[in-house]
């Protein structure tokens, strides 16, 4: 199936860009609107961010996963383009169990078990019992603890056999006392594959297709909507009978009303737009810029507000120092919202975002910026440059020459690069009136004779300045966001085109209520399904 996508993209090579909403063959699937897709793993591994949240939720310990586990790959080589591409931390195919990861996991288990078992009140509270004889190992109470931990760490009840296996593993520590035994069972259960790998084994409903059971579905939902494990109460409410639509809707709504959903939605935007990784050397300025974008994301997620304001906003949240940096009116003594004029509009004109394509402190490389915006905001796949091209310097600009003229001459030469430049330069030059730190400028850096008019083209449409770009492309950007939400939710690199179209329409119908988009994805009948390769050699 990937080859279909590859073929589609390869056709786009000549035009520099393609799309990763790959066409996929459609076919009938019993019991649900159907899409036949590439097999995905039955054991998606949690990301470091998700494990950190779970350890924090269950044990009240902060930073354990962040300290012990390696960061998830921020990018990986696409099997289609063979280029390094940015990916979400949820992408299942990047989760190889390297030695560094496995050793980090062991260290995490050791540290959490040691620290948490020292908090006897917390242990007893979770177990719902205390050892009958002081600190002597109480196997009955320990068994209750194993059952409680299974629900929280494995996201399902342990079977009696599983409980007994954990207890047997802890048996050699019985003489060391109850809380040493607690250490043993806690470390073991954290090191069990059930903790880091979510089970999506499900039950086969058609050849190559499985339907998740209630626990698996709830776990998938909570990973998507919370980035965390489901609560014990939610798990306890599940029965053996498959959740009906009303029960599922009730669950999803309860999750979306939890503060964890807001945190998760903010995380999605951070991972998608990457603005927390801004390249601003001044630490105070960087903090202010991050806060500026955080504030706008929060505003876009506010119920009753169109999410598109993230890109179209004509107000921005600045500290007095950031306002001075941007040469904007001060918000007063403290940070606040102020009106901004074109070319400013939304997050694409924030210093945080604009800095990300910088290779220089202030000056910009239009092709690089254009490629970044094309990739991240328009979901275009910008294919890698020819191998003998060094893209880091940009097009050489002779002393005294204007950047625009040099790039135009480069395109006019009609080299192998021309097609790509024609696409990405059009976007990049439209943003040239904004420098690498988000300041408005009227001419090339160091050359006042070269005025910047902000004229560009995107998707074949001319525009002048970033605000016009956003106005013209906001629907494409919205579709791109939907596509990324689906990648994030399904932990996959590719998403079916029809599904993007479906949810794009639903998002529009909700007046771009982002929570409603998350809800629609979660309640989609296909969210219960997984394409499997089980049974293949």
């Amino acid at each position: 199936m990937r080859s279909v996508v590859a073929a589609a993209l390869s056709l786009g090579c000549f035009a520099c860009v393609g799309t990763l909403e790959g066409p996929r063959a459609e076919g009938p699937v019993p019991g649900a609107p159907s899409t036949v897709e590439a097999p995905t793993t039955a054991i998606p591994r949690a990301s470091r961010r998700e494990l950190e949240r779970t350890v924090n939720s269950v044990f009240g310990l902060q930073g354990a996963a962040l300290r012990n586990l390696p960061a998830d790959a921020p990018s990986s080589v696409s099997p289609v383009t063979l280029a390094e591409e940015e990916v979400f931390d949820t992408l299942a195919s990047t989760k190889e169990p390297t030695q560094v990861f496995v050793e980090g996991l062991e260290s995490l288990a050791f540290e959490v078990a040691r620290d948490w078992s020292a908090n006897r009140a917390a242990v007893d509270s979770l177990a719902g019992c205390a050892p009958a004889n002081g600190t002597t190992t109480d196997s009955a109470c320990l068994g209750r603890l194993v059952e409680a931990l299974a629900v929280r760490l494995w996201r399902r009840p342990a079977t009696a056999a599983e409980r007994d296996e954990v207890l047997a593993a802890a048996q050699p520590f019985a003489a060391d006392g109850h809380y040493v035994s607690v250490r043993a069972v806690t470390a073991s259960m954290l090191l069990a594959p059930e903790f880091v790998y979510r089970s999506e084994l499900g039950a086969t409903v058609a050849p190559g297709l499985v339907r998740l059971d209630n626990f698996e579905l709830l776990t998938r939902l909570s990973a998507f909507l919370w980035g965390d494990a489901p609560t014990p109460d939610m798990l306890a409410a599940l029965g053996p009978v498959e959740l009906d639509d009303a029960a599922l809707t009730s669950l999803v709504d309860a999750m979306l009303s939890d503060p964890r959903a807001q945190t998760q939605m903010r995380s999605f935007h951070q991972l998608w737009l990457r603005y927390p990784n801004l390249l601003i050397a001044d630490a105070a300025l960087a903090t202010d810029m991050r806060a500026e974008t955080d504030a706008l994301v929060s505003r876009a997620l506010t119920p009753g507000t169109s999410w598109q304001t993230l890109f179209t906003a004509t107000q921005t949240f600045v500290t007095p120092a950031l306002a001075a940096h941007y040469v904007l009116p001060s918000p007063g003594a403290t940070a606040g919202w102020i009106d901004v004029a074109p070319p400013r509009a939304g997050v694409l004109t924030h210093g945080s975002f604009l800095s990300l394509s910088s290779t220089r402190i202030t000056d910009t490389l239009p092709s690089r910026r254009g490629a970044m915006i094309a990739r991240r905001a328009l979901c275009q796949v910008v294919l890698p440059p020819p191998k003998d091209v060094n893209i880091d310097n940009g097009v050489p600009v002779p002393p005294g020459a204007c950047k625009a003229e040099s790039y135009a001459a480069h395109r006019a030469r009609g080299s192998a690069c021309a097609g790509c430049h024609a696409t990405i330069d059009g976007v990049g030059f439209g943003f040239e009136p904004l420098d690498g730190q988000g300041r408005v400028r009227s001419s090339d850096e160091g050359n006042a004779a070269c005025t910047l008019d902000g004229k560009g083209t995107a998707m074949g449409q001319p525009f002048t300045g970033a605000r016009e770009f956003v106005t013209a492309q906001v629907d494409t950007i919205t579709r791109c966001a939907v596509s990324n939400v689906l990648r994030f939710a399904y932990r996959d690199r590719f998403v079916p085109e029809d599904r993007v179209a479906q949810f794009h329409g639903a998002f529009r119908a909700s007046n771009h209520d982002f929570a409603a988009l998350m809800r629609a994805v979660a309640l989609d009948p296909r969210f219960r399904l997984r394409v499997s390769d089980e049974g293949q050699p």
Binding site: P39, A42, I43, G63, R67, N68, P70, A71, A73, P74, S76, V77, L82, E84, E96, P97, T98, Q99, V100, F101, V102, E103, G104, E106, S107, F110, A113, E165, A169, A170, F173, R183, A184, A187, S188, L190, L191, A192, P193, E194, Y197, L201, N277, L279, A281, A283, A286, S355, S358, T359, R360, I361, K387, D388, D392, N393, D533, E534, Q536, P537
Partner: protein, 478 residues
């Protein structure tokens, strides 16, 4: 701050009784020359590689400040090499200039993508980029060749650390998968480096008992708990495997292999040969600020890695260590106030920065290398020191293409920093008859870096060859 080793009578007795904990190597345990154990076995031979993730020049410059002008001993120290003098290791290092790796289809060459493929070619000696997939090493890396040849009995066969906290891109250590046979299909995978000094410390020193000291009951309990939980994890992984499809089974198989590796390490006793300097470096519980913060503290991070490398050798926890500066193409790059906090060591400094900024970066990397060597030199072993029994390499990502000849100047049509022509390596230590302290100029001989690696293998007594590259640099021994 650190738990220094001191030898008590009790410890000597315990050693005599054959306890599992190793003892420091005393002169009385050596042969008459102090260069081998009394039973005739040789002192540990060690491999160390520091990788400087930069070239000699920026895209816009052909003038560098690293390569000495004069050849032989007593060469004038250049600005970038000044840390060698500051750390007192000039007599212990040979600077090797004039090396060459071709960007054409030839033994040990790379295809036109310099950053993606040249490190593979250098580190494996196998041509890179002519076999799909191109972005994958085509042979064993030098450290793994040494491990395979010497099969060290240390707790960790090899260690791979990276100063920059950003992962991804091209790494420096590669192993073969597919059952580790030499039969096709042969696939080489990158080994992920440890980028957290804190985690590296835990890997080395959790449960560590200073040699010769009493066993700490708490440490003993910790070890039992760790072994127990790993054993349980193995059983669970094996059970889950049975329910999965082929791809997922492979994933868990790899996971299981990693768990077994860790478990075997915990089952190993402390090494029998440790230097008197062996001690727990007691690193802090959290890492210094990395590039995920606004002001990364690269100096503090490097200092901790130097501590780890020093003690890994001093305590004989590993004899094969790679310390990378950064993986290549790490995107936003390795910021450091020393190079004006420019966002990308690669993109901004090498390609768009000034030569002065690159020189500052290179000097900093040379200093980290020099600090490691100075620590080895200060660690007594036998009648000499650890550096005497080590081959300590310094490898750079690029050289300086000096011509517009596409076969010498790398990719990009003559970008000198995308070239492995006129490359420089350094080789410290005296293991196996290496004679350091000179500037060896190899210009005009088109010798691949692999010839230096082959010389290192010879010095270490490792019966292996650096990929497709044959021959050594005989001058390194005379």
């Amino acid at each position: 701050m650190s738990r220094r080793f001191s030898l008590s009578r009790r410890a000597v007795l315990k050693g005599a009784l054959g306890t599992a904990i190793g003892l420091p190597l005393l002169e009385c345990m050596l042969d008459g020359n102090g260069t081998a154990h009394a039973d005739g076995t040789s002192l540990p031979k060690r491999y160390f590689l520091f990788y400087c993730p930069t070239s000699l020049v920026t895209s816009g410059s052909r003038t560098e400040a690293l390569t000495p002008t004069a050849a032989g001993a007593g060469y004038a120290i250049t600005p970038v090499l000044q840390p060698l003098a500051d750390r007192g290791v000039v007599p212990d290092v040979t600077v090797i200039s004039g090396l060459f790796v071709p960007p054409i289809d030839a033994p040990g060459a790379y295809d036109s993508d310099h950053h993606g493929q040249a490190p593979y070619a250098v580190m494996t000696g196998v041509r890179s980029g002519w076999v799909e997939p191109q972005w994958r090493p085509q042979g064993w890396s030098a450290d793994q060749l040494v491990v395979r040849a010497l099969n060290p009995t240390t707790r960790l066969k090899s260690l791979y650390y990276q100063l920059d906290s950003q992962t991804g891109g091209t790494y420096l250590s590669y192993e073969q998968t597919q059952g580790f046979s030499d039969e096709p299909p042969i696939v080489y995978k990158q080994i992920e480096p440890q980028t957290s000094p804190t985690l590296g410390y835990r890997q080395l020193f959790t449960g560590f008992t200073p040699p010769g000291s009493m066993v700490d009951p708490q440490a003993e309990l910790d070890l039992r708990l760790r072994k127990s939980s790993l054993s349980y994890a193995k059983d669970r992984l094996a059970a889950l495997q049975q329910k999965l499809g082929a791809n997922d089974r492979r994933t868990l198989d790899e996971h299981l292999t990693r768990v077994r590796t860790l478990e075997q390490r915990l089952l190993m006793t402390m090494p029998g040969t440790v230097t008197p300097a062996c001690h727990d470096p007691m690193l802090p519980a959290t890492d210094p600020a990395d590039v995920s913060t606004d002001v990364p503290n690269q100096d503090a991070r490097a200092a901790l890695f130097v501590d780890l490398v020093e003690m890994a050798f001093a305590c004989d926890l590993s004899r094969v260590i790679t310390l990378g500066g950064a993986s290549v193409m790490t995107g936003s790059g390795m910021r450091n106030p020393l190079w004006n906090m420019r966002g990308g060591l690669h993109g901004e400094v090498q390609h768009s920065g000034t030569q002065a900024e690159l020189n500052a970066a290179n000097r900093w990397f040379v200093d980290v290398y020099a600090r490691c060597l100075a620590r080895f030199k200060a660690t007594p072993e036998g009648t000499g020191n650890v550096l005497d029994n080590t081959a300590a390499l310094f490898v750079m990502e690029g050289g300086k293409g000096l011509t517009n000849d596409a076969n010498r100047s790398g990719d990009g049509g003559g970008d000198p920093n995308h070239s492995l022509d006129h490359s420089v390596m350094m080789l410290g230590g005296r293991v196996g008859g290496l004679v350091p302290g000179r500037h060896l100029v190899l210009t005009g001989r088109d010798l691949h870096h692999g010839t230096v690696f082959n010389s290192v293998y010879q010095a270490l007594g490792a019966q292996t060859q650096h990929g497709e590259i044959v021959g050594t640099v005989s001058e390194l021994f005379s």
